[in-house]
């Protein structure tokens, strides 16, 4: 492994100051970054550790409703937290679907959101767009797991499970850097390759994700469905994050009042399907409507040579997810 220096700053200010240096990289659980360094895919000269910073690994109620989740919370703690399990099941399930117990014990929410792509070509060090090159090898290569929506010029899919869950929850994300901090709607956090092919999110060098704010969703039910090509320890082939508010009583039980849906494993960013949400709102969630929603979710999808199967797969997965909430 390349040599680097390691530091554990004792305050957020010290951490962001340390991250000003070129060559410094923030590290949480390290599951992704250490592997990247070992494979010569990342070459930081200094690692700045964040998990020891106080207050970044907690879950707390927010004034006015909702909860605040620290970016350095482990995926294990997140998936087991009673409030998250109770009110934000989609996020607990997404966090619990990552990797293995060992990975979830070390890995953080912020790290899961900011991990680099798992496209075969990127991980094998091909000189692709993501490594500063001028082509996407997956486009004409082994693209079984690449994008069917939003691709081009790079066809990576966003690898995070928690990202579609947070998008479907309309979370806000807090970004802190040496020059200041900002809150963003999570949807604005992710960057399509057509906007900037070198990055997957808006973080500027030295910036870190410190916390996420989940808005209140009283009465909502939610589910994360992850399709894998072995029963554990892989990224999603496709996934769906669904948050629905259905009328429980009154004259129209089962009528959808509010819907938020994001797809994982299909696009370079978690893929919000607003048209599907509009299709659902105001209607009773019947098997027919669920099927129509599944079909609408893949409108505009374009397959590469080896990933056509993803189109019907994500459509069917969404149909089943919706019905599982009725």
């Amino acid at each position: 492994m390349k040599r680097f220096a390691h530091m554990s700053p004792d305050s957020l200010a010290a951490a962001t100051a340390a991250l000003r240096d070129t060559g410094a990289a923030p590290v949480g659980g390290g599951s992704d970054l250490l592997g990247m360094i070992k494979d010569d895919l990342a070459a930081p000269d200094r690692l700045v550790r964040l998990t020891q910073l106080s207050g970044l690994d907690t879950i707390a109620p927010r004034p006015g409703g909702g909860v605040q989740v620290g970016g350095m919370i482990t995926l294990s703690a997140l998936s087991r937290h009673p409030v998250i399990r109770d009110r934000y099941a989609v996020l607990a399930e997404a966090a619990g679907s990552v990797g293995t117990p060992q990975i979830r014990n070390a890995g953080t929410l912020a790290g899961n959101l900011t991990q680099r792509p798992w496209c075969w070509y990127f991980r094998q060090g091909f000189p692709c767009y993501k490594h500063g090159g001028t082509r996407c090898f997956s486009r004409t290569g082994e693209n079984q797991f690449n994008a069917i929506l939003g691709g081009g010029p790079s066809f990576i899919v966003h690898p995070s499970d928690t990202a579609p869950a947070l998008v479907a929850l309309d979370a806000q994300i807090h970004i802190v850097g040496d020059a200041g901090d900002r809150w963003l709607p999570i949807r604005e956090f992710f960057v399509l390759p057509s906007e900037d092919v070198s990055r997957e999110n808006v973080l500027r060098p030295g910036e870190i994700v410190t916390e996420l704010a989940l808005p209140p969703r009283p009465g909502a039910r939610s589910v994360y469905t992850k399709v894998r090509d072995r029963e554990a320890w892989t990224h999603a082939v496709v996934s769906t994050a669904v948050v629905l508010t259905l009328d429980d009583d009154g004259d129209d039980p089962g009528v959808c009042r509010r819907a938020a849906i994001a797809l994982g494993g299909v696009a370079p960013i978690p893929w919000r399907v607003a048209a599907v949400e509009r299709l659902l709102v105001g209607k009773r969630l019947t098997p027919e409507l669920a099927a129509a929603a599944g079909a609408a979710a893949v409108e505009g999808a374009r397959a590469l040579a080896r990933n056509r199967y993803k189109i019907s797969l994500v459509s069917e997965t969404l149909r089943r997810s919706l019905l599982s909430l009725t």
Binding site: F4, G35, N105, F137, W233, Y309
Partner: protein
Amino acid sequence: MGRISRRSFIERTGALAAATTLPTLKMRGAGQPVGDQPADPAPRTRISLRVNGETHALEVEDRWTLAEVLRDHLGLTGTKVGCDRGECGACTVRLDGTTVYACSQLAVWADGREVSTVEGLADGDRLNPLQQRFVEHDGPQCGFCTAGQLMSASALLDDTANPTRDQVREGLVGNICRCSNYNRYVEAVLDGASPDAASARALTTVGVLTPRIDAPERVTGRARYTGDVRLPGMLYARVLRSPHPHARVRRVDTRPAERLPGVRAVISRNTCDVVWTSGDSRNDRFLFNDPVRFVGDPVAAVAAVDRHTAEEALKAIVVDYEPLDFVLDPEEALRPGAVEIQPGGNLATRGRGVREPEVYERGELDAGFAASDVVLEDAFTSKHINNAQLEPRVSVARWDGDRLTVWTPTQGVSNCQRDLARDLDLPPADVRVVCEYMGGGFGNKNQCQDSDLIAAVLARETGNAVKLEYTRKEDFLGVHGRWPTRQYYRVGATRDGTLKAIELRGYSGLGPHRKSSGGIAGIELFRCPNVRRVVHPTYTNMTVSANFRGPAYPQGVWGIESMMDQMAHELEIDPVAFHLKNVSRAYMDETPYTSWALRECIERGAEVFGWASRWRRAGAGEPAVRRGVGMATGAFSARTGRSSAVLRLDGDGHLWVHVGVTDIGTAAKTTMALLAAEAMEMRLDDVRVVWGDTDRCPYSVGESGSRTTVQTGDAVLAAAADLTQQLSAQGPPRGDAVLVAEATTNPRIDGMARYASAAHFVELAVDMPVGHVRVVRYVAVHESGRILNPLTAASQVKGGVTIGIGMALHEELLYDRATGIPVNPGYYGARVMTHLDTPEIEVHFVEPEDAYGPYGAKAIGEPPIIPVVAAIGNAIFNATGRRLNELPFSRDRILETLA
């Protein structure tokens, strides 16, 4: 540096011998003491680690992982490193109680925290209850994953006192076991189900459920594997590999690397042309080749004071490549105009200089097809997959004067010694090979490996002991896996279901070297008067392919059993009835078997499985989730052959069994001890096995080809017979006296074939709209003669079946066709089976009498994987009415084919 060839190697050997008496004759770096630090130190931090209750203050490099510090600096080698990327789980430890991958934690992150490792579980020599259950339930096969499984299981049980089966599988899912003994690990944690019960027997030791004798070593971390060996002054070595599938090596400039502080030697084709004989039986395969012929072909090797310095040195080596055309597909490689990979063409020769495919024929093929009512044709494509044993390749070499000692994870210390001596031109007596414990191999640790030779050369160059480690990626690319095939079949039968003709034209991709046969086996399972099989073992620029459990069978049996299943379907005959009518009764319809119970396996399996009530003709029904059943058969040689054993009975009443086995996870040591105890009518506790060291053990056939039980077992029984005679003549030895019996046996079986056989039955559910296959039930019935130890034999079956399911559903080394570069090497990319992928596998044995082998025992290591892919493919056909002709049956293929 002078050139190192076999010849100059001897001269160099002489030179060093002289150097010991003539101090003025200097070899660069010879025998220098090795400090911990290179001249240009990397950033360091002082930390305090509490490990298993003991506090250690130490200074670590910031980049060192916790696994590295535990193993290399605290000597706690019970924690294993299988992948160094958080993809296998072997390094699982507990950090403040929670499980983490120690390879993916920096040591500085553990500063001030409590680390628990496998070494902390036992109380002195007393195993903790979980370890005890791991022993009794036969948890560890090779044992390399065991520490990790134990740490995950401990954490689970601390959290959940009485977990359900599913909770156990979830809790341990982050721990790969490539021996795939998942069922056993789950049983051990649950401690509910007892291992399969054995029937009553006349014999006292043989045939009884017996935990392996070395299991306590494997559950405590005391078992020493090659990677755990540390010697004074030991250097670390790394290999530089080709990034091109085929290229001329115009120039290798090693000087920038040699100039780096801490680097002690760099070798390449410039200085070394040692031939690795067992790397290719037809062509000269050098340690460093020009041209390089696959991505991963070694180009140079470095020895340095530590592994990080060695890795940095690799990056300093400058290589000028001239890329050449390449070809990945064996059929394309045989077309006119294809680039020539080895001199003389891409059809791998039958012998040196012969350029013909392998042909087997009996009867008149055309007449057979003319006499058939139904003739079916189809083609099948199987893929290269890696053996993926948990223990990566590692070799440690040390010279003591002219004598070489190599510690290496080998399946055969004797053949490894022979190969090293031949390739380095040394007398065999001057080569010692040691393998105390080894972490699996499944056929890719046969003989001597290039790593053994490279470590030996570097050790000679530097005068220090050298440890050469391969990364997991190197193990996937630089070491061989299963050969890919394309199989074209034509099969003819009459309406009543009688086979009339079988034709197979097959191609197997060997990679650029012929390291094994590249055969396509399976037609021998069927009785048929007219057969023609033509197989083209072919050179390609993929990574090398050779032996992987049941080498030629799983892919070939998938092809032929798919044809038979289709034929039964076309003829509207139940596949079980079709098999009972058509399976082999004499080997190749010609040679009688010593014993043969394949029909009984089929009948027994059908009965246990409830085949008659579960099977219906394929294609009926249209539900989203479709159930299907399938069956297939297999057979594997259980021939007798040469091996040796030495038995010594001492005055304390201990029987010492010296055998050259290494025990790759099959429980070979335990089997040898059982045989000796049975034959000598002694208690197993009084038997001591001496193994894995050419200085202490006689010749042994390698643990490949499932031969150890039969061949070395026969030698143990012969030695025991001799010892029994001595005992009755002289009485038991007293005091320091020892009775010794040596035997070398090579029993001949004239005019008969000796085979083990199996029939497998599977039920699965295919969720059509999402392309998911779930194995619902798996029944494996095996005939392996007498079962010497039903506990470990059933573990072999469970493991083999599970690896086979992974081959069927998940695994494939994918190549980028434009560049010839493999894109998914490693456990994550291979989708190796996990706890959650593994169904409960029911194991049954049929035990006919057999006049050969120890107490009539046959082979059990390789047979279990053989029928699996075929049985699953047939069940998918039964469920869906569609046959998948390309492996693996992955979700994308299922959806694309069945949509």
